[in-house]
Amino acid sequence: MFTSFKRIFNFALQDFSRNKGISIAAIFVLVVTIMIVTGLFFFHGLSQFLISEIQDRIDITAYFKDDVEEQNILTVRDEILKMSPNIKSVEYVSKDQAMQVFNEKHKDNAVLARALEEVGTNPFLPSLNITTNGDPVQYAEVSNVLQTANFSKFIEKVDFSQKKATIEKVFSITSNINSFGIALSIILVILAMLVVFNTIKLAVDSSKEEISTMRIVGASDWFVRGPFIIQGAIYGFIACIISLLISGIFAYFLSPKIGVILPGFSAFGYFLSNIWILILIQLIFGIGVGVISSFIVVKKYLDV
């Protein structure tokens, strides 16, 4: 058993090194297809980052009347947290804090500073900045709390209604991106698998006569099939290593450029933090497709 396996493995290595042209072509096609899958993996990371960024930026601000006591505002905050425990954050901004933020933001704008001086008092209202996870249901829950009779008397205005359409639009776009990503991935992966299958088919086709001869001299199914399957695995393994290097280099050099377009997203950081899952995906895809293609193609010629 072990002798047979060793022989099959040696045959595979021998054929691999003696058919360099075919081997290189098969590895090249596998690299291209693994890179497509890797690209989809990065696309997924990027779109998730984008979605969460957009969702983070959409919040509800409830402005309270000037004379409402801080204690009452904090009661509203606690009520919101009680109703929607999964909410991302509810931040209380007092009058003074609002003024500070404004001053900080417009410290270089003399006109605004003078206008504020002329007003004489602090014109800002205390508020609650509510950030949800982007789900419209959460917005509805928050909205319900704010509209109850007990609380609505404290509230001057809520900018939720103006944002409602945008929020729903973002939610529908993000869910569309996810479905589009899944559909695109499935189509591209199927296409990639077909291309690899055909390349391996060409490689095995060139050995059609050899397979027939092996059968005529009495070689068992696995003695004939084994070397081709192991060759498929070798193609896949080498293609994985090349793909990993290429994706690492790309991520490293493109990271600053992507960072300019999407501040906060590091392509290389994403590559490093997901390296094991990426290796696993590349190995499963590369070796899996290589082995399965060889298995199916050789089976066709074994019937001698």
């Binding site: 047979s4 021998q14 006569e209 050899e210 059968r215 005529i216 001299v217 068992s220």
Partner: protein, 226 residues
């Protein structure tokens, strides 16, 4: 050892290549199957090797009906047959040494045995100096000798040679036939398919003559008469 019982082979395009053929080959016999090109000799050899199935009738190998045995058993039978073909059927990506060793590896022989036997056979066959060459680097005669070495290495029960001298010059033809005679003298069964008149007339062994897919003659010490 081999028995054909009313074997008929008809191709899908309705061409009848063998028609109601019956004969028996006993162990240790040297049988030549002669006939013009297209008479059905090659199909007969392919039926023995299980590479074709009869349209009707039965082919038996050592008492087993070839049509009824599974793929695993068929491969075991093929290992007991040393096949020599007109187109050599060598493994193009393997060297001379590897082509012969492959047969022993298929059989599961130990490495030491392979390393001892293969050089011996290659020396007998005159290919000792070409062990590292690939088949495409050999002449027609050398390729045929390699095919013979491969057929002999496992000490098969029977040698089936389909037009083994078709591409050879008279000198190489003589060598191949002498070798087959030697193998037969050592007790092995030999089935030789050929359309070479001179070979048959020199051999003076059993001759089955096929014409248009039918057995015309089956003579114990036959001559080439078509």
């Amino acid at each position: 050892m081999i028995k054909f019982e009313n074997v008929t082979k008809i191709f899908p395009d309705e061409t009848v290549v063998l028609q109601d053929v019956s004969f028996e080959i006993k162990e240790g016999e040297f049988v030549s199957i002669v006939g013009k090109s297209g008479a059905g000799k090659t199909i007969l050899v392919r039926l023995i090797l299980g590479l074709e199935t009869p349209t009707s009738g039965q082919v038996f190998f050592q008492g087993k009906n070839i049509a009824e045995i599974d793929s695993f058993e068929m491969q075991k039978i093929r290992r007991r047959v040393g096949g020599i073909y007109q187109d050599y059927k060598l493994l193009p990506n393997k060297t001379v040494y590897e082509n012969v060793a492959y047969i022993m590896e298929v059989e599961g022989k130990e490495k030491e045995e392979i390393e001892c036997e293969v050089p011996k056979v290659l020396e007998i066959i005159g290919l000792k100096d070409k062990v590292d060459n690939f088949p495409k680097e050999l002449s027609g005669g050398e390729q045929q000798r390699l095919a013979i070495a491969r057929a002999l290495i496992n000490h098969p029960d029977i040698i089936v040679a389909d037009e083994p001298t078709g591409n050879l010059d008279p000198y190489n033809t003589y060598e191949v036939i002498s070798l087959l005679e030697k193998v037969n003298k050592a007790g092995k069964t030999v089935v030789l398919s050929t359309h070479d008149r001179e070979i048959i007339n020199k051999l003076g062994k059993r001759v089955i003559t096929i014409e248009n897919g039918k057995i015309m003659r089956d003579e114990k010490e036959g001559r080439f008469i078509i």
